[in-house]
Amino acid sequence: MASNGIRDRVAIVGMSCTAFGERWDRSADDLLVEAVHGATESASTNLDDIDAFWLGTYLSGVSGMTLSRPLRIRDKPVTRVENMCVTGSESLRGACYAVASGAYDVAMAVGVEKLKDSGYSGLTRASIPGDGTGGTLGTTTAPANFSLLGPAYAAKYGVHPRELKEVFTRIAWKNHANGARNPRAQFRTPVAASTIARSPLVAGQLGVFDCSGVSDGAAAAIVVRAEDAHRYTDRPLYVKALSCVSGDATGNVDPSYDFTTFPEVEASAREAYRQAGVRDPRAEIAMAEVHDCFTVTELVLMEDLGFAERGTAWKQVLAGTFDLTGELPVNPDGGLKAFGHPVGASGLRMLFECWLQLRDDVPADRRIAQHGRTLGLTHNLGGGPGECVSFVSLVGTEPND
């Protein structure tokens, strides 16, 4: 038995992404219609040509009819998927494997989330009858869960809490700077580092500006067999790897876990690199879109994804390695931090930035320098330190590279 991957067997030939933000005047239905039709237009095709759909939504609807009803999609399968913050990426995985299997010629992955209708701040969770012991992700908030990484990282690598706060601030500053150049981003104002550093504390060392936005939005991608890709576009994006790890959730149970890493991310990245034949991600990847739900998360991810040696990512962050103009741009679209985080759409939003950047479809002011590299990475994480779901994809503009 083996995980074989589907390197270069399918390609993305059309994508769209709505503006993310507080879309008070748009329903989930409206966002879905915009995203789905945007994707078909992007691929110069129409809805009738799509054979099957994978819809990712965390809390904004149940069943495939969440998509088929507003789009009036008739006599087609729609699979609704949910995998916490990995939901959007999970819809892509389903669509890609369906096409790779030969079951369908054309599939669409769609993600949507309408978070701002709840009236609540932050994410909520599905209500499942329980025993009241809360599980390990029980009473504390998401920023608190992730802030557990800070003291542990600082202690293990001898980073002074003040230095660590500078690192967090630098990550937030970078992602806001990137988002400010992106017309679809939720937050389009650059934020001064001093403002970020002084923002009110939310949990541990994390301030308001260390947390990603809660937003509405949708995104969609059309997947076809690689050999069919050029029927739709001259510049397809080939799927190199799709890797998902659902954690065994032992970090909050097993004293051997030290809260300085996401082992699930490391495992999912290792698998993705294996599928794609990537040996040195730092050198081979042109850009990465990672799950910066909180600034500390992005810091740890740089090590888990192999972009920096253990205990050194904080220095790389301060050195600007992951800036838009850095050696390996991370979250050039602003990330969850500035682009926003409509859960079900986020994974596809990351893919959308790869779609734009790797195909040179972005304005000069926010274009990354690829230096001959053709690969982009997307990464999602759902849960928190100790127990999470992690997804890594690799896509590229060149087949069989």
Binding site: S118, G119, Y120, S121, G122, T124, S127, P129, G130, D131, G132, T133, G134, T136, T139, T140, T141, P143, A144, S147, L148, G150, P151, A152, A155, P200, L201, V202, A203, G204, D248, T250, N252, V253, D254, P255, Y257, F259, G386
Partner: protein, 472 residues
Amino acid sequence: MHGIVACEAYIPYHRLERAAISTSLGGGVVSGARSVASYDEDATSMAVEAARSVLRTVPTAARPRRLYLATTVPPYLDKTNATVAHSALALDSGALAVDMCGGVRSGAGAFLAAAEASEPAMALLSDIRTGLPGSADEREGGDAAAAVLFGPGDSDTPVLAEVVSAAAETEEFLDRWRAPGDLASRVWEDRFAEHVYVPLAMDTLSAALKKADLTPGGVDHLVVCGLPRRSVRRVAAGTGIPADRVVPDLAEVIGNPGTAQLGVLLAAALRRAGPGDTIALLLLADGATAFILRTTAQIGRRRPAAPLAGGGAALRYPTFLNWRGMLAREPPRRPDPEPPAAPPAYRSRAYKHAFTATRCTRCGRVSLPPAQVCFHCGAVDTMESHPMARAHGTVATFTVDRLAFTPHPPMIAVVVDFDGGGRFRCELTDADASQVAIGDPVEMTFRRLLTADGVHNYFWKARPVRRAGGET
């Protein structure tokens, strides 16, 4: 011989300085402080904490077969509260657990029932006392619990004191009353109460002494308790028993914890009594109840622990009002908390209430929550029950959550690694966010996490390990 084999008081961590009340509301400054049950405590959870202290060193054979829980503030009606304690203490299902709720007098009933039981029995006396802002009840009340375990005694768990005699007088009159659901009691003029109580109490004490073939001069330690303060003072001063034999009422340091006062002051008496001493317990509540106890030669074997000193930073008065339901605060923009569902709570009661984990018999790893599959070696169904309620641990990492809703912000979340294995992530209660550090020693405490749809969600939290702070 059936008698007291253990007795412990539980005084909650928080204190409200009485001066804080007058600072807010005006009026003269009153000295001292009162104990305050935390927002995550109620009569049942405090009773469990007192009972845990009693059972800590008690062998299985001496564990109670009967449990009587007395309080004026039962968290549940219709449903028995003592069963929560029964479950939290992991008592045998064959042990009876019943409530004696309503009046302060219920405490004397629970004590008597346990004293007269034909098998090991424990009286749990627990109370949260307050009144309308600015009232004497608010100022003079206190929150506490006590557990008194009776049994036949053996070499491991000897009888410390036996009940020599008991007497009661019952009188129906309005000195204090409270309609169900009301936050505060109403009282008649205390001079009227005094008129009724003083002769009643004197008669009751005399009757009990007579049954024991004693005179007031034979009493070494007198405990007079009850909420009618003026009457209690008059009685304590008027029995003919010298003032230095009257056990101090702790009013200055914890206030009057109502139903629990009998047990709390009994614990104080047992701390100071010598072998062969006579203790007279007198309660003024809807009549009077008196018990004459005599300590045994074994009294020194198991002295009640001195209550812990109160929490460092004194509670702010508005916080106190909020906790007692007198001052509503804006809730966060978050979904309402959800109550536990009955079937899953029932299935996991050993974990949820008694904090029983599982331990893999193949690799020895301890799993919290209990698991069928070992997180370490992957073995299936190799687990044995593993009690963790008494385990101590250290803080592996922590955070201060300023966003999470709590009546005492900010919430402190800790990852606890237990001595002897097991990791648990939970809230740290009775603690100061600025004082938490990796490596801090912690222990577990039984708390009420929240109440939703009328369901009290009882579970466990960690608290800093503190040493006894001397006599309070």
